[in-house]
Symmetry: C2
Subunit: 218 residues, 2 copies
Amino acid sequence: MAAMTMPRRRPGRPRRDETRPTREVVLTAATALFAERGFDAVGLREVAAAAGVDVATVAHHTGTKAALYEACFARVFAVEREVLTAAAERARAALDAGPDAARRALHDLVDVFVDFLEDRPETTALWLRRWLEPQRHAELDQRYAEPLYRLVAELLTAAAAAGALAEPTPHITVRSLVWATHGHVVALAAGAPNARERREFRAFVHRLLDGLYGPVAS
Amino acid sequence: MAAMTMPRRRPGRPRRDETRPTREVVLTAATALFAERGFDAVGLREVAAAAGVDVATVAHHTGTKAALYEACFARVFAVEREVLTAAAERARAALDAGPDAARRALHDLVDVFVDFLEDRPETTALWLRRWLEPQRHAELDQRYAEPLYRLVAELLTAAAAAGALAEPTPHITVRSLVWATHGHVVALAAGAPNARERREFRAFVHRLLDGLYGPVAS
DNA sequence: ACCATTATCCATCGGACGTTGGATTAATGG
DNA sequence: CCATTAATCCAACGTCCGATGGATAATGGT
């Protein structure tokens, strides 16, 4: 377990506006490990070794193991929210420009989502593992996933009202699409030939949308 | 942790043809726990308590914890293989009856798969957790999942040769469909309103197949 | 210069884990 | 009726885990 090459924080009183680099190193290492092997299979000493610090330092920065886990979610969610809300706002703005433009905007939103997950397999693994633990850490769903789900749900409702959707209850199909995308990313991370798989999955998603919402003029 | 109500095996030399009821009780309890919380989060003492036996009895019947894990897969796979191979053989037999009958048979195969997973959420959870551990217990994939994948892949190749498929490379879409189905089952197990979700997902699958392989005359 | 504050590591605690040796019980085969 | 054999449990071992108390070092504020 090679220590991560990073400017190690030395002991001493920190500057007030410091961004706590050690905490960042710890969170980066912990996110990678939690995504790779899950909550239970990762030990705090392992995280500490990957970050190049002592286990007590991990505790000092993030508290309990559960708090460390949540901090990892909070960090990846910050990026996720930014990317998806921007795309959703773009799509909402396109709703007034007619059904065709609205459908095209929905296509773009899905593409942004697939791009995001393909570029960050860790995020996918993190969420999938979380969803397989319905009981434990369920508050993470409410805090981080639900707002985005609500955002997309409201967007689709508005799109249906604007006549851009043929599907009356898109909720279930959207969730299925999310799962299919996560599965696609997991398969990519498992070592599939990337270029071909990526192209084919993109075609799959587009054909799926065409079938559900009607074809989009390209 | 209430002990499972079952005819407890008493000590003593067993009859030769006995089906080892204690082993069945242990495997049932272990399968439920592994499906619910995963390999690492389940302790052998927990399995033993759920089965109403001592931890040493668990070891006596299944050996190490990894062997117990594999035994759970072997048991659920026995049912899975039987159901899916039967449906696949039916579909293969329909290939000679023309493209329409072949497509209808593929619809039936997918329905059988969705039915199977909806009736056995444990199987879904077991496999999803396994797929999220690419490194550990990878031999379970080769031993139990790969044969079924190969079966379906050969069936689809034959269907494409028979002109029943419009999709030239159905491999990726089938895997996406598998993931979407597993996600659907996970959502059901998490407490969604069952009847409506089941109906809508079935409609989603059928529309997806229609879009990929051309509509099937019903 | 001095003190308060923060970061870091060392050592250790209690507990849970998987595994194993051995004693006990009871059904079978001769 | 007895020796054999399987099934079960008890107790324990060594290891790893998450968490914590305390010592030390270094910085910022005064």
